[in-house]
């Protein structure tokens, strides 16, 4: 669908984008995720034709669009600032690209009404942009970008100008519309939660280059670079002893590891190799679990602090060697674990099927 090959962009002395490659499948939702200055918006603008690349190529299907004007690319783009035309009503904004394409009145009317119904703004179609709320404006912008059936939809930080609650509900709307229409979508965001929730695949970018490409699960649980690990969520780096390596039912490599006498299974990651008999991996705070002290081969640990985050509570837990780890648990159960309490600590890999952990532990405990 969209093929970007060795894309580079240089502004005077700044290499904004460095050897960027991406192949998108039809209907796929891919997100470029990175901090400001990572080059993600520049990539998006080059795909839209608003910026010309220094080198490299962009293909839309079989067509080389690298040097085409934005008008000739037929790509839908939603801006962070909505960019609705202030002198046109919601209806006129959505109809505009169809007028440009010289479609007949009846077709335009049918298509615009269909889209207004899809975004739930039929009763506000005659309002000017300044009479609409931020969320409504962004929905109109989305409908306008989709009105001419573009094969590719680009979203430039589409939700970041909205407040948290509207952002949350619009995320769901966005995903639903994308699924319903099956339009291939490339989004730019710096919001990791948004990226994890919406994307089929995520491209993590830093300093103009791609750090990692993968599914939300890959990016979250198997960050391949220190940058990705630091940028997305939090991790506890631990060094564990490798007991053995087994194959999962679908052929993936799984390590059985021991850490503080606790034996657990961990899905192998191509990029992290054991150093001799030990391996350093990053454990997400929510991959730890509490048990009663001494339960099921757990580590005996002490809760030294608690931070209430709303639905989740973060515990700072001290291990027998006096180091600490961060553990997240649902706030609903946090009352059971006061500061100073002794607990049993377990690690489970959320990527492994339920029940697999016990099996692996049993296998390691009773080698036959």
């Amino acid at each position: 669908m969209l093929t970007i090959h060795q894309l580079n962009k240089r502004f005077d002395h700044l290499q904004a984008v460095k050897d960027f490659n991406l192949v998108m499948q039809p209907g796929e939702f891919v997100t470029l995720l990175g901090p400001s200055g990572s080059g993600k918006t520049t990539v998006l603008r080059m795909v839209a034709g608003l910026e010309s690349p220094t080198s490299g190529s962009i293909h839309l299907g079989d067509v080389d669009v690298t040097h085409l004007t934005p008008q000739k690319r037929n790509i839908g783009l939603v801006f962070q600032s909505y960019a609705l035309f202030p002198n046109m009503s919601a209806y006129e904004n959505i109809a505009f690209p169809l007028h440009v394409r010289k479609q007949d009145k009846h077709t335009i009317q049918k298509r615009v009404n269909e889209l207004l119904a899809l975004i739930g703004l039929t009763n506000r179609k005659d309002h000017l942009p300044h009479q609409l709320s931020g969320g409504e404006r962004q929905r109109v912008a989305l409908a306008r970008a989709l009105s001419f059936h573009p094969p590719l939809l680009l979203l430039d930080e589409p939700l970041s100008a909205l407040d948290a609650k509207v952002r949350q509900s619009l995320r769901i709307t966005l995903k639903e519309i994308q699924r319903t229409l099956g339009v291939t979508t490339l989004m730019v965001t710096h919001d990791q939660e948004e990226a994890l929730e919406l994307s089929d695949r995520i491209v993590v970018m830093a300093k103009g280059a791609v750090e990692q490409v993968g599914t939300a699960m890959d990016i979250y649980y198997a960050p391949q670079t220190a940058f990705t690990e630091g940028f997305i969520g939090e991790t506890n780096p631990i060094t564990a002893e490798v007991l053995d390596v087994i194959a999962s039912p679908i052929g993936e490599k799984i390590y059985n590891l021991r850490w503080h006498h606790h034996v657990f299974s961990w899905l192998a990651d191509r990029h992290i190799e054991p150093q001799g008999t030990s391996i350093t991996i990053g454990i997400r705070p929510e991959s730890f679990h509490f048990l009663p002290v001494g339960g099921h081969g757990s580590i005996e640990a002490t809760i030294v602090d608690k931070l209430f985050f709303g639905s989740v509570t973060r515990f700072i837990v001290k291990l027998p060697d006096h180091t600490t780890v961060k553990v997240d648990a649902m706030s609903a159960i946090s009352q059971q674990y006061p500061i100073g309490a002794k607990v049993g600590l377990l690690i489970t890999d959320p990527r492994l099927p339920i029940g697999f952990v016990d099996e692996a532990v049993t296998m390691t405990a009773n080698p036959s």
Binding site: I75, G135, V166
Partner: protein, 285 residues
């Protein structure tokens, strides 16, 4: 709040002493005849000579301010879009200076360049064989005043248009392109409609400015053109015939014209969409 209002006192006092009280003075003397209240002076202003003066002044002011507004828009639009910041700064500074360069110095400058034996007139005649005097250009007539008015109205238009033009969002233009529209369609469908209230407002101010121009027109044309401010000058100074009451009646009529054109400006400002960004609360989805 109260202290804030007190700070406006000097301005109100200034307006009262130098604008409002004199205006009432003009009004009362224009309505005072030998036997008390009288409309004689106003009746006199409806004669052919004064009708012609109003017509010439309006036509000169309208044509010069329309052209200045269009030209000003084009320059402001180019200034906002250029990446040459030095040029941008030079032209903005030059516009501020030029907009205030009027009166006697401007008249002298024009006589020295475009007068019958002005440098530019002679240069065109000798080197390019273009005789602008023979072509009908006369600094002391409509054509000359038209050019002179443009020289200060255009920079004024640039200064007045710049804030509005620079608040056109770059994203509007980019959105137009990604939706398949050309630059001209962007101008026609978004830039010009959005800026229209500012353009009308600017036009109102330019017209008022041109209509009330006195020193420049008097020094350049004197009695060879029939303009309202020049006539008022004659009545008040007693150059030809002193008639304070008639001068005051003409002044009142000119004030009405200025009031109408300035109210265009305020009306247009209120209609501007550029300042109507904040709509309903963002939570109300």
């Amino acid at each position: 709040m109260r202290l804030g209002r007190l700070l406006f006192l000097p301005i109100f006092a200034f307006l009262l002493i130098f604008a409002i009280i004199p205006a009432f003075g003009v009004l009362s003397s224009s309505l005072t005849g030998t036997h008390g209240l009288s409309f004689t002076f106003y009746r006199q202003t409806f004669s052919q000579q004064y009708y012609n003066a109003f017509w010439t002044t309006t036509w000169l002011s309208l044509t010069s301010s329309v052209l200045a507004a269009i030209w000003g828009f084009v320059i402001a639009f180019a200034l906002v879009r250029t990446s040459m910041t030095v040029l941008q700064r030079i032209i903005t500074a030059l516009s501020s200076t030029m907009a205030n360069f009027a009166g006697l110095p401007l008249a002298v400058a024009f006589m020295a360049t475009l007068g019958t034996s002005g440098i530019l007139t002679l240069f065109l005649q000798q080197y390019l064989h273009v005789d602008i005097v023979a072509m009908g250009f006369n600094l002391a007539a409509f054509s000359g005043l038209f050019v002179a008015y443009l020289s200060f109205l255009t920079p004024l238009a640039v200064i007045l248009m710049l804030p509005a033009v620079s608040s056109l969002h770059q994203e509007w233009e980019e959105a137009m392109y990604t939706l398949g529209a050309s630059f001209f369609l962007y101008l026609r469908k978004v830039a010009v409609p959005v800026l229209l209230p500012s353009m009308i407002g600017t036009l109102g101010l330019l017209f008022a400015n041109a209509f009330s121009t006195y020193v420049t027109s008097y020094e350049l044309a004197g009695s060879s053109i029939n303009l309202v401010p020049i006539l008022i000058g004659y009545m008040v100074n007693g150059n030809v015939s002193m008639n304070l009451g008639l001068g005051d009646a003409l002044s009142m009529e000119e004030m009405i014209v200025l009031g109408v054109s300035i109210s265009f400006y305020f009306f247009a400002q209120r209609k501007s969409l550029l300042h109507a960004r904040e709509g309903r609360s963002a939570n109300a989805t």
